[in-house]
Chain length 192, copies 2
DNA sequence: ACAGGTCTAGACCAATCGGTCTAGCCTGCA
DNA sequence: TGCAGGCTAGACCGATTGGTCTAGACCTGT
């Protein structure tokens, strides 16, 4: 565990922002959680809280893209990969704590004054959808249907995470996986 | 327009909380928006900001249940009602302004310190799902499938709203309606 | 041994936060 | 006409906010 000071700050910020949102966490709380003084923060993130939030969001975005690829890499078909993805997310939800929100929305939905946040969130979401669309195509969907499947997976993930958070129960996401993409013996269910 | 002072406060608070979240809005900003002094707030809401947020959430919850019933009342079948609902939500999203988040999550996801918020959000979500499930049953779904349809509608709504907010484009929700519940000439697509 | 840059440490600042409190307006009743 | 209570109005409070600034620890190349 040889995390750099910069990563320690981004990690602590990500964890706290996901629980309470951008405005809900003070710099002092982040600093205390990371065990670092204020001077370090403004050395690594000259623009302060905004820079820190952007780095925290980028951090969790990279992790999410990794999880998506992991879930679909060895999938039989798109529904199989989507089910795996929701299970992985349920696990992540448990590890992070049941008050945790979607990394991106929790950090980057801070209001109209923060336009750069809004742009970034749209960029990250598009990135996830594109990524899942590519997996759908690779796994046999025709291009038009693949995009629809990619978007459906995104919405299911967002909606499931939100409900899981309110109920504080990761099983919401697991059940949702089988409801949305029922297991069948057929191989062609992705485009059915 | 003979809104009571209490309703003026709840309405102004709801609008601002939806944009910036519970922690993102100060009391002074709400008061300025409502055109009222601080004394009025603490007269009508003795517990201050928390009471105000709960009332704002209850306010938008009541409105949402009304919209749901409106959408399904004259529907041919569940998919028809769900499509109508997403169109109504898209309209509402435009009226409120494209930075607006889901009323409940924006107001009530304020972190672990506010347990009462978390409980309320779970209650409201469950209420919506139950309500949509009832409509699904009424419109011909068998009970088990009806619950699945109700949950699916909820997740689609949440996910769609989130993406619409990031993109600042209400059409996301409209397109999603037809992707998730394609129009067919068949009457039995609800359980297909 | 010393110089120079990188980074840590935390005191300090004005502004804003949620919340309290008192003064007085305004209305209904006697 | 006077009084009582619901409500408005806003000054004021300590605590906390994001952000700035200086002092010095530490490391590296010469």
């Amino acid at each position: 565990m040889t995390m750099t000071t910069r990563d320690k700050l981004a990690w602590a910020a990500a964890k706290l922002f996901q629980e309470k949102g951008f405005h809900g966490v003070g710099l002092n709380e982040i600093l205390a959680s990371a065990g670092l003084p204020k001077g370090s923060l403004y050395h690594h993130f000259p623009n302060g809280k905004v820079d820190l939030a952007l780095e925290a969001a980028a951090f969790t975005h990279r992790e999410t893209t990794r999880i998506i690829d992991d879930a679909f890499r060895d999938a039989r078909d798109f529904p199989d990969g989507a089910r795996t993805l929701l299970h992985k997310m349920a696990k992540m939800f448990e590890i992070m704590g049941s008050y945790t929100g979607c990394p991106i929305t929790s950090i980057l939905f801070a209001g109209p004054e923060y336009e750069v946040f809004c742009e970034k969130s749209a960029e990250y979401f598009e990135c996830w959808i594109t990524q899942m669309t590519a997996h759908a195509e690779r796994l046999g969907c025709d291009p038009v249907q693949a995009r629809v499947e990619g978007e459906k997976a995104f919405h299911t993930l967002q909606g499931g995470w939100t409900l899981a958070r309110a109920r504080r129960d990761s099983d919401v996401m697991r059940n949702l996986a089988y409801q949305t993409w029922p297991e069948t013996t057929s191989v062609a269910q992705a485009t059915a």
